[in-house]
Symmetry: C2
Subunit: 277 residues, 2 copies
Amino acid sequence: MTRTRIGICAPSTPIYPEEVEQLITLAAASHPDAELVFHEQCFAIAGHFAGEDDLRSAAFVELANDPTLDAIWFARGGYGAARIADTILERLTPAAGNKLYMGYSDGGNLLGALYKSGIGTQAHGPMPVDIRRDNGDIAVRRALDWLVDRNPAALESHVQPNQSYAAFNLMTLAMMVGTPLLPDLRGHILMIEEIAEYLYAFDRALFNVTSHLADAGLSGLYLGRVSDVPENNRPFGEEVEEIVSRWCEHTNIPYLGRADIGHDMENKIVPFGKLSD
Amino acid sequence: MTRTRIGICAPSTPIYPEEVEQLITLAAASHPDAELVFHEQCFAIAGHFAGEDDLRSAAFVELANDPTLDAIWFARGGYGAARIADTILERLTPAAGNKLYMGYSDGGNLLGALYKSGIGTQAHGPMPVDIRRDNGDIAVRRALDWLVDRNPAALESHVQPNQSYAAFNLMTLAMMVGTPLLPDLRGHILMIEEIAEYLYAFDRALFNVTSHLADAGLSGLYLGRVSDVPENNRPFGEEVEEIVSRWCEHTNIPYLGRADIGHDMENKIVPFGKLSD
């Protein structure tokens, strides 16, 4: 039996040590050929972050450069990856190129930067922290289905061979566009999702992102779920799909409909680039 | 006596009709040579906005192109100006160039776009809606001191002749950088302020803005007030000035210290460009 060794570190915010046992038990039952290798840094705390910038980047580099690991799985999002992405990239060795990197939300900063640099393969998909959700075990198993088996049943249903994709949390993407972390998205279908933003902030982020990407040569855009929208003191006046399709029309980006991604247990896998890569 | 006629419209969100009387009474007492001309559109409501995009842009264009007005004052921020800035610019006539435009917060989208287009002069300063604040009358009078008299006592104290400035709400700027609304800031001193953002979101917005502006040739950056920061479930671990000076150092933008602007009644005037313009 070939074992798949998955290194887990936390480029953004920490998880709890007691979650490790849950995750290892789950993986042992559903994916006995997987080995979850948790870096101690997953549990470090420095204010908002899973340790200071130096600690987080060192843990990532250590795992990424470890030739005995097959994949790097980001423990959790929450903000922090953008602060270390540049220092990580310059310290990666060829061993980092033979890996799959997976996460979402703030982890999109690293997915984007690694994809841009052509280092390994990347997928937008559930993270270890999703074990906290109701039925979160389903999300974690789906992640393992991709990390370990590349099981196509884990994929977002619109993902087709020979088409390039990228997927991001909208606010994360809004803060990436125009920075050195953003990959070239020419010919790509982009999927976005959002959580916990007022609709005016969602609209504003789309102004930003679609303005930036108007001339980026996107093949189209799918909208994932937009969840936990806070109530404002007055209704915004448009639904999320109206907002997205309006900005897409304004910037000549083909709007393609809804995608099955989001900050929830249904979050499906979206590999970056082409499936055949 | 030369009267200064100030046209007031709401490119973003509405004010209440009952605030007009307060503002007119205040202006009559302190600036009898000022005439406040409120456009009916200030009170329109369409979901989040002070009327639909078409109504808001039409009101702005009508006032801006009115040769009998000396200034355009944005009634209130709140989001909406970015949706209409491009359609406004293309409909302005030479009369729009003989005016001072003033506002802040979401109004920065229009200040930036007008400055970029070389249409009129612009100033970051209090708005009619500030009458709602405790001692808001002081902020409104300060705005009139600049709108009517160009009284230098109204200026932010760091503003010097022969130096170019621009001032923005940070989140507004984060959503403008890289869009067609952002002016060329080469040689400018930039002042920023923020309200009601988590410190992680403040840090993230600075990652975005300083990455964008690293090569923009800024002469320096001042930090205004950062107010109403929501409490997160854990402390961020850095104070606002540490955050700003760190990102400035990372991107070689000279950090110059604190500025006297913010979402409050102390908000001082920052003219765009050079004072002598």
